[in-house]
Symmetry: C2
């Protein structure tokens, strides 16, 4: 009897309610899989450099303008961000700043600015990647950025305003991108983008916060 | 008999040889404990904003000038770096850039520039901190920076030139600093600076690379 009551509670807490979800990087391999998965049940606003809502994550003014245009949101998903890949011998301070200012601070800034536009109890879901815990030649900047994103998310979760949640998905080598990366990731298992997308659904439609969802 | 031979091998591989070690942040609580520990057996060059060798880790030109002045080194230890502590509600992009440009890129730049001055098989040892895996109010920037430093070190280890090694020490709340931080770290165990210093000795005088030494 107690269990029955609990299940009903879950359902009435919005599990069946359509959400308005901003997906940044919606035209990428992961972003389009997220749109396909969450689009079955929710209203998706696609944003990116070439999407209907124009947004450059490295530019705070561009982020602010996009949020103003879109209005109230239930959730934000970010599957975007550039880092420089090059052998350590060729990497200098300026090369690391590319990833710090684009993938790292771009995603963080979508949270810092977005927290005022996302409803009470809404969520943010960011994207890091397997180079947070496995390492390849030329990957020092990606590893730095992914590690920093994961710990930012875990730390931010305990201070988010108005019950907002924040999680991050750390995908392995995505099968659909494998041809582009195979020689750098020799021997790594691949994961279909559709399976990565389900981790975003777990974050957006579930109730956890401060989680790093590793999908490998 | 086989064991006896191994032990002799270890001793002849430089265990007893005095090294020339640059300690950046030598006047800090951790840095001075490192100087006390490694100074028993090695020649220490103390550097920092108020040390005999002036060095501002946020300034690449200052790092380069210090290395030029010091010349050939066997090891570099960095126990320096600033980040901004403030509630997430008050943190904006520029506040995170303090830690990214000082503690994170300052330490990384000491490696990028220093690799040309450190001998074959020499080592770098950086410093992150417990906020890489435990989280406090106001600590989102420190968590981001410490996480990024740990993964940079693990990734860089597989690409260091000329057999150079790189490790990082992640200390808990240092007992000697406890009065400054106690209200932020209520309930955290403390660790004496002398015990943190031994992890730096393990890195500098041992043979491991790509390690995160957690001292809590």
């Amino acid at each position: 009897m107690r269990w029955r009551v609990r299940l009903l509670d879950c359902e009435s807490n919005g599990k069946e309610t359509e959400m308005k979800i901003l997906v940044v990087g919606a035209s990428g391999v992961i972003g389009s899989a997220v749109v396909a998965e969450l689009g079955k049940r929710h209203d998706i606003v696609a944003a990116g450099r070439s999407a209907s809502v124009r947004l450059d994550i490295s530019d705070g003014a561009s982020i602010k303008a996009a949020y103003e245009k879109i209005g109230r949101l239930d959730a934000v998903v970010v599957a975007a961000g550039s880092v420089k890949f090059a052998p350590l011998a060729q990497m200098h301070a300026a090369d690391y700043e590319v990833g710090l200012m684009n993938k790292l601070m771009g995603q963080v800034n979508l949270v810092l600015i977005g927290r005022d536009y996302v409803r009470e109890g809404g969520s943010f879901t960011l994207t890091s990647g397997i180079l947070d815990s496995e390492f390849i030649r030329g990957g020092t900047s990606a590893s730095m950025v992914n590690g920093g994103l994961n710990t930012f998310v875990m730390a931010a979760a305990i201070e988010m305003p108005r019950g907002q949640r924040i999680n991050i998905v750390s995908p392995g080598v995505v099968a659909e991108s494998q041809d582009d990366y195979e020689s750098d990731f020799r021997g790594f298992e691949t994961v279909p983008a559709a399976r990565v997308a389900r981790a975003f659904a777990k974050s957006v439609e579930g109730a956890q916060t401060g989680q790093v969802y590793r999908v490998v």
